[in-house]
């Protein structure tokens, strides 16, 4: 809208002249150009209508009466502030300046949110200390060192006990593993032996029919030989 130029006037100029026009401060040739632009530019025409309507509405607003007590309250507040500053003034030498500087440094920390977090942290720590049955007055250097050494002692004992338990446990495990292995070996040996026995038996059983076969073949040969001899004898007898 503001880049357009209509009726020889850019919209930006119309925007600036609009306040003067609504104040009835725009006269002569400028007023004519302004009116021409208003009639030819739709956006500026709408702006004029809305702005004049808004101005009319705002003119209806009247000044409101402040509460009766306001002046009294202001005077009371300012006199209080004056008293405070009067009290603060003598400290303004070194401590006052130091306090202000410290305040400025800690200003980001001194917020309600940070205070709330600190409160929660304190509450948690107190709760933990209570649960652990630790009293604040016990937290002297002597007590702390005593607590430290006794805790260390307890921890060392616990550590030694645990080590012993683990060592025994590992030994027992080794023994159990060793006995299981020896059993397994024995079983394997037995199984092997049985296997061997079975194999020899099978071999023996397989050899018997062959021997029988050979034997029968020998008998047949003998029988054949015998029958041959008998044949020969019979032939000889016949010849005789």
């Amino acid at each position: 809208m503001l880049d357009e130029t209509k009726s020889g006037m850019p919209c930006a100029e119309f925007d600036v002249l609009l306040t003067e026009a609504l104040d009835n401060a725009l006269k002569g040739e400028r007023r004519e150009r302004f009116e021409q632009h208003r009639l030819t530019c739709a956006a500026c025409g709408t702006l004029f209508a809305e702005a004049s309507s808004g101005l009319a509405l705002l003119n209806e607003l009247e000044e409101v009466a402040p509460p009766q007590s306001l002046v009294h309250n202001i005077l009371a507040a300012t006199s209080e502030a004056a008293q405070k500053s009067a009290k603060v003034a003598p400290q303004d030498s070194v401590w006052g300046r130091l306090g202000r500087q410290t305040k400025a440094v800690f200003a980001p920390v001194l917020t309600p949110r940070f205070g709330m977090s600190m409160g929660m942290a304190f509450f948690s720590i107190t709760l933990v200390l209570n649960m652990a049955q630790i009293r604040i007055k016990d937290l002297t250097p002597h007590n702390l060192s005593h607590t430290f050494y006794s805790s260390e002692n307890k921890f060392m004992k616990y550590y030694e006990n645990m080590r012993l338990v683990y060592e025994i446990e590992s030994r027992v495990r080794d023994l159990r593993n060793a006995s299981e292995e020896s059993e397994r070996e024995r079983e394997e040996q037995n199984r092997h032996r049985e296997k061997n026995n079975n194999q020899t038996q099978e071999q023996n059983e397989n050899n018997v029919p062959e021997q029988r076969h050979e034997y029968s073949r020998g008998l047949e040969a003998q029988l054949l030989a015998l029958s041959g001899n008998e044949w020969n004898l019979a032939m000889q007898r016949r010849a005789i």
Binding site: D15, V16, G54, L55, L58, L70, T78, A81
Partner: protein, 200 residues
């Protein structure tokens, strides 16, 4: 002695620690400051608190006022505006997105209908009620427009400050002030038009 000279003398006396001068300043300016705060913040309670804060700030820093740079009126308005902007930033999260309807009942501390009727008994009471309702709607709509536009419109149309003074208070060029005023007025009209349409 004109008004500006009287005020300048009061300020000088006040800076020297004269309590009566300070009281005179408070009585002269409290109404104006209260109205700026009320139109900007929207609620009478906030306006009262903010007005007190403005005067405490003015009281503390009145020694730093330089009449050569700006009038006391402009200076006090600048202090008020800065405080209102701070207040707006601080309460941004707390502020609910109030509708225009919600803000309608805010004008509690303003002149009552009875006051207005007493002031002009010849007018029709029905018209008074309508006029009051319309004013409340305009006040509610004013809270809906952006703070940049709102402050420019308040200073120009409700406080009758000239563009140069407003530019000094807002620390922006005069052209920007005029543009903000135009946009603020147009935005207000659009908002109220929408509200009327919804109501119908």
């Amino acid at each position: 002695m004109d008004e500006a000279q009287v005020v300048a003398q009061l300020v000088r006396r006040c800076a020297q620690g004269e309590a009566a001068a300070w009281e005179d300043i408070v009585r002269r300016f409290h109404r104006r400051i209260y109205n700026i705060c009320y139109r900007f913040a929207g609620s009478p309670d906030d306006a009262q608190d903010l007005t007190q804060e403005v005067f405490i700030k003015v009281y503390r820093s009145i020694g730093s006022f330089d009449g050569a740079q700006a009038s006391f009126n402009t200076w006090v308005t600048t202090v008020t505006r800065n405080l209102l902007v701070d207040h707006f930033r601080k309460t941004r999260n707390e502020r609910a997105t109030d509708s225009i309807d919600a803000a309608q009942g805010a004008d509690e501390d303003g002149p009552t209908l009875a006051d207005r009727l007493a002031a002009d008994g010849t007018e029709n009471p029905q018209r008074h009620v309508e006029s009051r309702e319309r004013r409340e709607m305009v006040h509610g709509a004013l809270q809906q427009i952006s703070p940049d536009l709102r402050e420019a419109v308040i200073l120009r149309d409700l406080q009758d400050m000239d563009y140069r003074e407003i530019a000094h208070v807002l620390k922006v060029p005069e052209g920007t002030v005029k543009s903000r005023i135009n946009r603020g007025r147009a935005e207000l009209a659009r908002l109220l038009q929408r509200t009327y349409r919804q109501a119908l």
